[in-house]
Each structure stands twice: as structure tokens, then as C-alpha cells.
């Protein structure tokens, strides 16, 4: 049972991790929390669902590529409409939290308007199959979720460390004014960050859709909150921290539920998090004196 629960926790946590990275990236550069992120995950589910139904010949990867592109653009649009105007007017950062939350609710309402409020099955699926390690049964979909999440996070970490884009993002995160003086275009850097974060949200959405075979306009809300918590837990601004935070949260849910009570699964998971914060207020990999990304 223990082995199976570890598998369950890692699979659940990987989705949280992928969502957490989006929060973390945006926070690292703007120090705002993009609360439309969960809705972008949901948008990823529905856009891929619509594409999958309209053009089945694209296949999973064709659909995935187009969806990532569309959701990345949608993320940039959210930034342009709900974040940039406030930043340009010098509004307090807390306001962006409200405006992105509003953008998220609008996206949810829009999805409900277009696709209706009922649950729908998800038409794209990964290869069906199960193998066993010890007493644990692992589905191919779970393998795909965990390995894809890990690969994307490692890829992102490499991008941030070793490319010009990454250097621009890091520089802006450390000191926007100095970065701008060095010729880095702040607006473009912010847009890139939103595009990358939203693209990852799209991937998380498609993996969730395929894993649970399910689409609903409000399906992004709870994972969005969990992803945010995972990001804080791992240390805001750290990509690998987001990964660790996601898996920690997934494990806390699974084991808290199994050994204490499923009736209070979330409450127990969050209580565990509060204890972690009391010991490490900066999160697992965060630093108190932030050197972000």
C-alpha cells in the first residue's frame, strides 16, 4: 500500500508542480501573483478538447502544440489587459492580484458560455496501459505526467540559466531598473514570462484532461490554488522549488488522507504546510533575501 500511495502522491504532485512553476515565474519577475493561472489551465483543457474534436487528424502532439501556442497568447493577453495597465499607472501590486483573479473568472464564464456548464469527457488520451513495480500499479499516463513535468521543469531551468532570454529574465528579476538601463526590454521580458508560464499551464491542463478524462469550466480553480500553495511551499521564484513544493503537497494530501482522515484531506494537507512554513518561512528552496529564479 505504501508503494502505491507514493506513486499516487508523486502523480498528483507533478500536476501541482507544473502549475506552480507558472506562479513562480511571474512572481519572480513582477512580484505579483497571477490568479488567472488556474483558469488558463482550464482553458488549456477546453481549447485542446475543441481542437481534438474538430481536427482529430492532428493527433495528440499536433493538438498539444497548437493549444500551447493559443494559451501562451491568451496568457500574454491577460498580462496586457489585466496587469500591464496597472503597472504602467504605478498601482500597488496587490491590485494585480484582484485584476488577474477577475480575468480568471471571466475566462471561466467564457468557457461556460461557449462549452456549457456540464462535465464533458476529454477526447484525447495517452496510451492505455498499466505496469507494476512491487505492489504498486502505475499507468502509462502517470508515467507521462511525471516524466513530462520533470522534463519541462529541467528544460525551463536550463533556459533560465544558459540562454540570453533566461539571462534577461534573471536580470529583470534581480533589478528591473538596472536591467532596463542595460538595454533589456522589460515589457518583452514580462510577456515572455507570461507566455512560458501559460504554455506550461496548457500542458498541465491537457495532462489533467487525459489523466482524469474530464473537462469542466471550474476545474482549474482548485488545482490553481494548490499550484499556488506548491509554489509558495517550494520557495516563490524557484523553478525546482515549485517541483519539490508540488510533490510535497501531493504527498501531504495522500498520506494525510490515508493515515488521518479523507474527510479533512485538504485541511490536513494545509496544516502540514503551515508547520513547514513555521520552520522554513521562505519555503523549501527559497531564500529570505531573495535571489530569484
Amino acid at each position: 500500500m505504501l508503494e502505491q500511495q507514493i506513486v499516487n502522491g508523486i502523480a498528483l504532485g507533478s500536476v501541482y508542480a507544473l502549475i506552480a512553476v507558472g506562479f513562480s515565474l511571474v512572481f519572480s519577475i513582477l512580484e505579483i501573483i497571477n490568479f488567472s493561472h488556474g483558469s488558463l489551465v482550464m482553458a488549456g483543457v477546453y481549447v485542446s478538447l475543441a481542437l481534438g474534436l474538430a481536427a482529430p487528424r492532428l493527433g495528440f502532439f499536433g493538438v498539444a502544440l497548437i493549444t500551447i501556442l493559443i494559451i501562451a497568447i491568451l496568457g500574454v493577453l491577460v498580462e496586457r489587459m489585466a496587469v500591464a495597465p496597472l503597472r504602467n499607472k504605478g498601482a500597488h501590486r496587490a491590485l494585480a492580484l484582484v485584476s488577474t483573479l477577475g480575468a480568471g473568472i471571466m475566462l471561466e464564464a467564457l468557457a461556460q458560455l461557449i462549452w456549457g456548464g456540464d462535465v464533458r469527457p476529454y477526447p484525447l488520451s495517452l496510451p492505455d496501459g498499466v505496469f507494476t513495480i512491487g505492489s504498486a500499479r502505475i499507468t502509462y499516463t502517470e508515467v507521462a505526467i511525471v516524466s513530462l513535468s520533470a522534463a519541462l521543469m529541467i528544460g525551463l531551468q536550463l533556459l533560465i540559466r544558459y540562454t540570453r532570454w533566461g539571462r534577461a529574465i534573471r536580470a529583470t528579476a534581480q533589478n528591473p531598473t538596472a536591467a532596463a538601463l542595460m538595454g533589456i526590454n522589460l515589457n518583452w521580458t514580462v510577456r515572455r514570462v507570461f507566455a512560458i508560464g501559460s504554455g506550461l499551464a496548457a500542458v498541465a491542463g491537457m495532462l489533467m484532461g487525459a489523466y482524469y478524462n474530464y473537462a469542466h469550466p471550474s476545474m482549474g480553480f482548485a488545482p490553481g490554488i494548490k499550484g499556488f500553495v506548491a509554489a509558495v511551499l517550494g520557495g516563490m521564484g524557484s523553478v525546482l522549488g515549485a517541483g519539490l513544493g508540488g510533490v510535497t503537497l501531493g504527498m501531504a494530501e495522500v498520506f494525510g488522507g490515508s493515515y488521518i482522515s479523507f474527510a479533512y484531506r485538504d485541511a490536513i494537507a494545509f496544516a502540514i504546510l503551515i508547520i513547514i512554513f513555521l520552520v522554513r518561512p521562505q519555503g523549501i528552496l527559497g531564500t529570505l533575501n531573495q535571489e530569484k529564479v
Binding site: G117, P121, Y212, Y214, S218, F262, R265
Partner: protein, 388 residues
Amino acid sequence: MDRHSRVTAKTRMLQGSALAVALALSFSFSNLPALAQKACPAEIGIGVIAPVTGSKAEQGAQFTEGAKVAVDEINAAGGVNVSKLQLHVLDDQGQPNEAVAAAQRLASNSDVYAVIGPSSTASSSAAIPVLRRAKIVAISPSASTPSLVTKNTHFYIMSLDLGAYGPLVPKYAIERFGAKNLAIIHVKDDWGEAVTKVEKEWAAAKNIPIVADSVYTQGDRDFKAQLTVMLEKKPDALILNTHYTEGALIVRQARQLGYTGPIVAQGTNIYPQFIELGGSSVTGVVGWTDFLATLESEPVVKANQKFKKAIGKEPLQYHITTYDAMMILKKAFQAVGCDRGKLTTAVADTKDFPGIVGKVSFNAQRLPEKKIFWVEAKDGKWALAPGD
């Protein structure tokens, strides 16, 4: 003539003509029992309190459409005695406070004699005191808590009550699949707790051990942790006290975790969406239902034709219960006229009423007794199962 006496004269004239009309009516209908009844207004108001908007809008549409089909049919056939039925649809959004507001509006309308709704136990509990004060008889097409009925003389439900249908599921698991012990998973809400309690009491009385009983929160998608704990206990059968979305996901995940035994579900799961979401993994899942348009039995086929003609689509469960409720009300009006005190006893007298898919009776506790269907997920749809 001054103004005062002119008014008086006019009033007298009106009174006179009213008397004449009444006399004429009483002569023309003197051979009908209607004379002994309290007369109805030209239009008998029937309130419908339904979640027309909000998250339960789909259920609300079934109420309003079912009621409209029935009322159109009744009015086209001449109405009740000489009166026509007139629907007053009020939206409670599935919220108890809105249900109270709707009940107050209906109670203040002296032409309203009966109400269809509200939809849920919570909305019904909230609206009942208001309706009771106005002595308006109400029938909920979907609520299933027996105490709503047994504690309120003017309230009825059309679905089997929880105390009656709860034990059917464990009983079926034991009788058809020979299960010696059971595992239950339920949703953490009023309904889930109540139905689980009924099942456990039944099992305890029969000495059937419940080896695992787990719970989830509405809206959860990942149940593998619960299922891993439950399956560790090696249950002979799994019982779903779930709603259809979560029910389908639970079955899928249980199969992925290697569970191959029987799964028996409460009626809340028996919707086409359960099979759409669960895909091939839900094949073999069994459950009960009031009504399902895909069943190939004669009354169901007839019901489908009737609704296809009237609203252009096949009926769902609450189309049927609403339609039947309206027909029971019609019969009560025919029996006692528009007498608020007597209407509820007339409804309580319903015995072997020919409902759209089978006979409906209210028993000594005024709770409904009716036929249910056992169905099994097979080839992508629900089909009649053994035991039906």
C-alpha cells in the same frame, strides 16, 4: 344621484349579475359533484420553484419543461372542471434563501393552490414553513429526505425516499454478486452521509461487514489515495454513494488500481454522462434509476414519443417525476376542487396512480412507492440488468 349612491347601484347591479351567473352555473352543473366543491378560479395557479439558473439549471429545465408538457396536455383536454391551469415559474437558483422568497411570492397570490418543487432538501426545508402557513400543497420532483414529508402535512416527494432506496444497493450487491462484505465510498455532503448511514444500518442488521468506508469532497478528481486504502481490505463489492462525475472517475481509478470486482451505484450515478466520462472502464457497473430514456421497455418508449413531440427531445428523470406530480395534482383538483384544506388529503389518497412509467402510490406515511429499474453499463449505454 350623488356619487355615493351611483357606486352602490353599480355594486348592486354587479352582485345581481354575479348571482345570476352563479345560479346559471349551478343549474347547468347540478348533476356534477363539482357543486359540493369549493369553486376554482378561472385560472388555477400552480407555482413551480425550480433552479432555472445557476449550477443546477439543467435540473430546473426538467422541472419547467415537465410541468409545461403536463399543463398543456391538461388544458388542451379542457382543463380541470371548467378552470385552466396556469404556471407561475419562479427561479430559486438552487439556493434556500431564494426558495423562501419564491414561496412568499406564491403564498401571497390567492390564485395559487399548489407548488411543484423546490428541488433540493435544503431549499425544501427553507420554503416549507412559508407554504405551510398558506396551506399550499407542494410536491418536490427530486427531493428524497423522508422527514420533509413525514413532518409536514402539505409536502410530498416524487422520488423514492432515502430510507426506501438506500438499502436496495447493498442488498443487490449481496443477492446478485454474492458479496460477503462491502466497501462504501461516499460524497461528504448531507445526502452522502445520510444514505451511507441507512446502508450501514441495513448491513449491520444483516450481519454484513462494511470493511471500508471512505469519503471525498465534491469536486475532487483524484481518488487513488482513498481507493488504495479501501482495496487493501479486499472487499467483495464496491458501493458508490457518489454523484455521477465523481462516480465515473472513481470507477476508472479503481480499475486502474486493479480492482476487478462488482460495483453497485446509487441512482445519483445513473446518467449518460457517467458512461461518457468513465468510458470502457465503467462496463459492468450496476445501479438503479427511476427513469432512463435509453431503456427499451414499453412505457419508456411511449414517454419518449410524448416528450419528443412536445419539447423536441427525450425526457430525463425529473421531466417524468414533474409530469407525474402535475397529473396527481390534476386528479386532486378534480376530486376536491380548490379547497386548500382538502387538497393535501386528496393527494395523500393517491393509490396505484398510473404514472408515466409505472404505478405511483403514497403509503401510510405519505411517502411514494413506485417501480425502479436496475440497469447495467454495457456497450456504452445503460441497459436493463438482471433483477429488474
